[in-house]
Amino acid sequence: MTVIEFKNVSKAFHRAVGQRLLRHYLEDLLGKSDPDSFHALKNVNFAINDGESVAVIGANGAGKSTLLSLVTRLAPPSAGQVTINGRVAALLELGAGFHPDLTGRENIRLNASLLGFSRKQAGDLYETIVDFSELHDFIDEPLRTYSNGMMLRLAFSVAVNLDPEILIIDEVLAVGDQQFQTKCIDKIFEIRNQGKTILCVSHVGPLLESLCTRALWLDHGQLVMDGPTHEVLQAYEGRTLHAPSE
């Protein structure tokens, strides 16, 4: 079964050159084409099947995060069609719904509800989440007293215990210390081995090679290569190495 399908998908953004005045909005309304618009994705086609784990690679600004935001339906495509089947959990920016004045416990509850947990699920999973984060001693302290690493631990623990059908990971594997990182990566492998679909953006080549069987290479918004991770990574790294002499 196809769980993610992109058909001729493009995504354009306005270039925010300084202030947007009333005139600009009127032009938008009247449908004047925007000469300054910037294409983050251009005519992208691919389909991902149930249980596949796919890496997305490319230089900064190649359109990787835009692609993920389309998969999570946070943004609509400017053209083309995006089809998604399944419950998506996105580790896009950990702790997006967290508030510094709430305690760890309150933030877990809030974040769980934002991510779609029901009251019962949130209650049942609370202990699992806290155990995974290893933050028992600080759970009733406000989040602003947490270190950055502790905050990320908590956020990761909530998101990864959601039991998603499609897991999206955007360069968030650098969580906490070495020991906790290993734990996170183990957890992601565990999710993959349960047959879940994974879409992963990272710059850590060896990890992608062991986690993902297939890779998509984006360059300036275009899909330039789609194939086995090893081959795509080799082509990508080869190109990057030659870049300075071009």
Partner: protein, 258 residues
Amino acid sequence: MTSLWNGDYLFLLENLIVKDFKIRYRNMSLGVFWSLLNPLILMGVLTFVFTKVMPNAVPNFPLFVLCGLVPFNFFTVAWNNGTISIANNAGLIKRIPVPREIVPIATVLSTTIHLGIQIVLLLILTLAFGRGINVHWFWLPLLWALEVMFVCGLVLATSALDVYLRDMRYIVESACTVLFWLVPIFYTLDIVPREYVTVYEFNPLAALILGLRRILYEGVSPNGDAGLVYKLAFTSTVTFVAGLAIFSRLKHKFFDYL
């Protein structure tokens, strides 16, 4: 665009409301007492002005003016906070596919907690001024519910517009200042020229204040001859439906503009 979010709406709404409420008061030494302070101070000031500086014939002026201040205070706080709620929660809107409508609505509903506290103050003052409980008190929950619905409608429209035009928040602020004078808070409807009375009755905020006064202050049915409650129900429903329509038209591009 169908949302991928299929979670528990009530649980989410409850958490967002509690979050707003806790954040506002967690670091305040006076806590929820602040909810009472604002209307009480304004009541004192207006009573001083309109009984000592420019005396008028309205008896029990403090109760009279509080019937206007409580709904007006809720209206301005909820409308202002609701309007900036989408832009202020940009991190959430851009990262988590929650149904967008829930953010401004939760902001309005968290303000109803303060409203509840102020209603208790208003009812205590009503009894203190020797106005007893009467059968028309049954109308009160409906009137308050209609006001909340009306504000939700307004907030849905202005919070969505605020994403595109950040000036919206200043327009709302100014509108609230203007409304303080155009709504019968410290004057009676009797002194309003006849030709404007219908306009007042179709203004949901004014209608609510008039209705409250009839129930609490005069002890009569809020409907009067003009069918006030029906007008209030009509304008509140229209505002809510229109607000929802505007919001769902504008929400698809929030991601691009935030």
